[in-house]
């Protein structure tokens, strides 16, 4: 029972997921698909709760035992708590006037064309549009000031900065690793250089590389992308897809059970 029930649930769910791709019946396409989608979302929400509990447990243990680097755990938990609190603050809804500075010069008399809208056939400069454009219609704005502040001034710059650090590592890696130690490495390096040059408009500064208005590097880049790259990517894709298919069939049939800690 303990191992059988998860296996049956997994098998049934796997078959349900497959059905929606192969049976075009309305019942399957509407009712079953919607039921599966809702179920997965609900299970996902429970997974989120379990993830949060696991985060608190593992970092709480590190703080309690004062393991090396426990200060980072304090920061992690404190940040999670602050962001969750800030996110729970309800949205403030305000009704502002439309931005007069942008569209104050709107002329309401000209009719560009008649369009069928949800308000019926109407000219483009309908009453709604005109009143919004001239600033008479209140515009609803919703915002979470604290959450917006945390996003704009913490998450946004931190995310950008972390990703930007990659540029420095890539540059040093280019200097240290891209060396012609064999003819295969030379081939790889020369194609990388061609793609790099094809990605930038070198012809703006070196007009002699231009053939019929397009840089020779750009043409070579397109050749590399469209033939050797595409052929190898296609091979990898087909290989991966076949592997995934075989693994999926084994999981649905209950032969492989990674969801039970790898026990079979």
């Amino acid at each position: 029972m303990k191992s059988g029930l998860p296996r049956y649930i997994c098998g049934i769910c796997g078959v349900l997921m497959l059905l929606q791709f192969f049976i075009p019946a309305k019942f399957v396409q509407e009712t079953v698909v919607e039921w599966v989608a809702n179920s997965i979302m609900i299970v996902g929400c429970f997974g989120l709760a379990i993830g949060l509990a696991s985060l608190i447990h593992s970092h709480g243990t590190r703080i309690r035992r004062k393991t090396p680097g426990w200060g980072f755990s304090v920061v992690t938990l404190a940040t999670a708590a602050i962001v969750a609190f800030v996110g729970l603050v309800p949205r403030s809804v305000t009704f502002d006037q439309a931005d007069k500075g942008v569209v104050a010069h709107t002329v309401t008399t000209r009719v560009d064309r008649i369009e069928y809208t949800v308000f019926g056939y109407q000219p483009e400069t309908s009453n709604l549009v005109a009143s919004a454009a001239t600033g008479n219609m209140p515009v609803q704005r919703t915002s979470k000031p604290l959450f917006d502040w945390a996003y704009n001034y913490m998450l946004y710059p931190l995310g950008g900065t972390t990703f930007a650090l990659l540029a420095f590592y890539i540059m040093t890696a280019a200097y240290r690793a891209m060396r012609v130690k064999s003819w295969e490495a030379g081939l790889l390096l020369s194609s990388a250089l061609v793609v790099l040059l094809g990605q930038i408009p070198v012809e703006e500064f070196l007009p002699w590389v231009r053939i019929h208005g397009i840089s020779v590097f750009e043409r070579l880049k397109e050749l590399i992308m469209n033939f050797p790259n595409m052929a190898s990517q296609r091979g990898i894709l087909i290989g991966v897809a076949l592997g995934a298919l075989a693994t999926s069939v084994k999981i649905i049939a209950g032969i492989e059970r990674p969801y039970m800690g790898g026990r079979s």
């Binding site: 509407e30 698909v33 919607e34 599966v36 989608a37 997965i40 979302m41 989120l48 942008v102 569209v103 010069h105 709107t106 000209r110 560009d112 369009e115 069928y116 809208t117 949800v118 308000f119 483009e124 400069t125 709604l128 549009v129 919004a132 454009a133 515009v139 609803q140 917006d148 704009n152 998450l155 946004y156 710059p157 995310g159 950008g160 972390t162 990703f163 540029a167 420095f168 540059m171 040093t172 280019a174 200097y175 891209m178 060396r179 012609v180 390096l189 250089l193 790099l196 040059l197 990605q199 930038i200 408009p201 703006e204 397009i214 840089s215 750009e218 992308m225 790259n229 595409m230 990517q233």
Partner: protein
Amino acid sequence: MIAPVSKPLVFWQRHYRHIIYVLVFLCVLLPMFLPVKLRVNVSPPTRNVFNAVDTLAAARHDAITNLEAMIAATTNRTGIARLKERLDRLRMNTNGVLMLSCDFAPDTAPELEPMAVAILRHAFARNVRVLALTPSTVTGVQLAEKIIGVAARQSTNLYSARVDGRDYLFLGFRPNMFQLLMAMGENISHAYVTDNAGRDLATQPFMRGIQNYNDIDLIVSITGYTGVPEMWIQVAHTRNKRPLGFGFTAVGVTDYYPYLHSKQIIGLLAGLRGAAEYEIASGLPDAACGRMFSQFCSHLLVIVLVIVGNIEFIYYRRRTR
């Protein structure tokens, strides 16, 4: 006996990291302040996405004409009623509807944000209605909301204002992307229920002409996450036969060329250059074109560093022999 290494070489070996870091910093930063806007050639994959957005109204007109012909040829009453219902929905958005999936977060925003802005401006300029969403990442919601809001305000022209809820709508994020995309194939209002601002989708004027993917003329996903385009291809193209375009970070764009050639996607915007190409195609050079000079200098630096590294490698190999 090995000859002693010269002093500049010793200095270089000891401090090459610092020197490279300073050079990278300067190569990225300084060009930002120089008023050099490079013009780039528009590649066919970018041109295809541009043309698809540009001809959305014509595509919608064709769809309406085809449906009218189908109704005229159908004798089954139930079938006619269903087709007429769909025809009414199509007539509600005569300029077409674009679904823009902003599947990116702040980390890849410098590369992908210009793409989203360029596509939105182009769509608004053509009076195309835009349904935006962020199904893959919760950290990109506010970014996408800001982008679409700013683009709508900037696209407000002399005769029309872009009204939230009528000309565009932002749906935001819901968990479990794949199932969400599948559910949207049946009914978008059932899958999302409310938009990002918490308003009931059923009450939004925008949604009256839109039930599922059949009422969307083009789907464009802009992302830096591997796996996201595959989900869109499986659901939007393979299952629902909708035209699909992508914008992807330059580092991972090579993975998606097979889909381009198999015509599963109509076009592909590759990194910052793709965004610059789109800006050039739409005649509005902006942020991406401005950043191209910075990318130009950085790429040249990579090439110089590779050459320097190889000269050093050959030099040491000869010395040790």
